[in-house]
Symmetry: C2
Subunit: 196 residues, 2 copies
């Protein structure tokens, strides 16, 4: 069989993790096997094990890469010199763009994280909890600084994160809605509403 | 074993369907058995079969009862003498209240519908598609009548339905957020935004 094809900026492990995300998304983590993954990557199963220890390690890679990517982004945004509303807008746009670019990875970390073993499971939940706290803090600071209405910050974060998560139902081709329209309209609705 | 306990307004079949929704939610449809359901209801398995034909029939009951409930409601609302915005608000509130009242049933029809066989699967998807179309029509009419900004109706419906679906992550006790606050704040954010 062929060698694992890599690009300039990704290692063989990156390629395997990306293919695993695609497989876990389409078949679910539980129903996927390393043998199928090897076939999907186009190599012998033994060759996979040169780069990755086990199926569960792949799930951890996917979930933690995604979780850390969002955490790094919100940490960067929250220290910028912008209004709180602009920061929240930047967070929402990052969610939508990342969903569009790394759809399989985000989907798997949203739906399959429960299958991780300890201590990874608890670590992952802590990452998610801190992320939600950071976003709540942006809302709270925005309320204090009179940029945001006196809403319940937990409900605002739940509404925002649920809406962006729903992009998994977006059928790009069928609905003739571009990423640009989706992103701008969703951001506007979540921040400014749809009432004229 | 005991008889199936029924209330004033629900039949034995209703009780079984409700217990099945609870079981399918906690264990998933695939991993649940009729034997477990019988234990959960507190009767012999043979007694279940007096009221229901099979596990797949239970899934159909749950999905179609939920789907029809939402369809009946939007059909009622769209014929009322109210502004389009008031109609959309009523639809969102109905979603949130129904999620809170019949959480297991809504959860199962959101997550487990894929396991239905044909022709039920296609029928169910048609019900969902018509529902989304009715909601899109309310948005479109609202735009025409200058009540709503010129948004993309598909994105507005995706944002609304994804946000209300996210209520499954609401942890009532932990976050100290009442249903009333959740409902009012989510409706307000989706219609009027959070920017001051």
């Amino acid at each position: 069989m062929a060698k694992i094809q890599t690009g300039k900026n990704n290692s063989k492990k990156d390629v395997i993790v990306k293919k695993a995300a695609s497989l876990f998304k389409s078949k679910s983590y539980s129903a996927s096997s390393m043998r199928e993954l090897a076939e999907f990557v186009g190599v012998e199963a033994s060759s996979l094990y040169n780069h990755i220890g086990s199926k569960s390690e792949l799930l951890q890679e996917i979930c933690f890469r995604t979780g850390n990517q969002f955490t790094e982004q919100i940490d960067k945004i929250k220290n910028e010199q912008r209004s709180n509303i602009e920061k929240i807008e930047a967070v929402i746009r990052f969610h939508i763009q990342t969903m569009a670019e790394n759809f399989d990875e985000v989907y798997v970390s949203n739906h399959e994280w429960k299958h991780m073993d300890e201590p990874y499971l608890s670590d992952f939940l802590n990452i998610r909890r801190s992320y939600e706290k950071s976003l709540m803090l942006l809302i709270e600071t925005g309320i204090e600084q009179k940029e945001i209405k006196p809403v319940n910050p937990y409900v605002a974060v739940l509404t925002i994160l649920s809406a962006v998560r729903g992009i998994e139902f977006w059928q790009r081709s069928k609905k003739n809605v571009t990423l640009q329209v989706l992103e701008n309209d969703m951001v506007n609705q979540l921040l400014n509403g749809i009432v004229k």
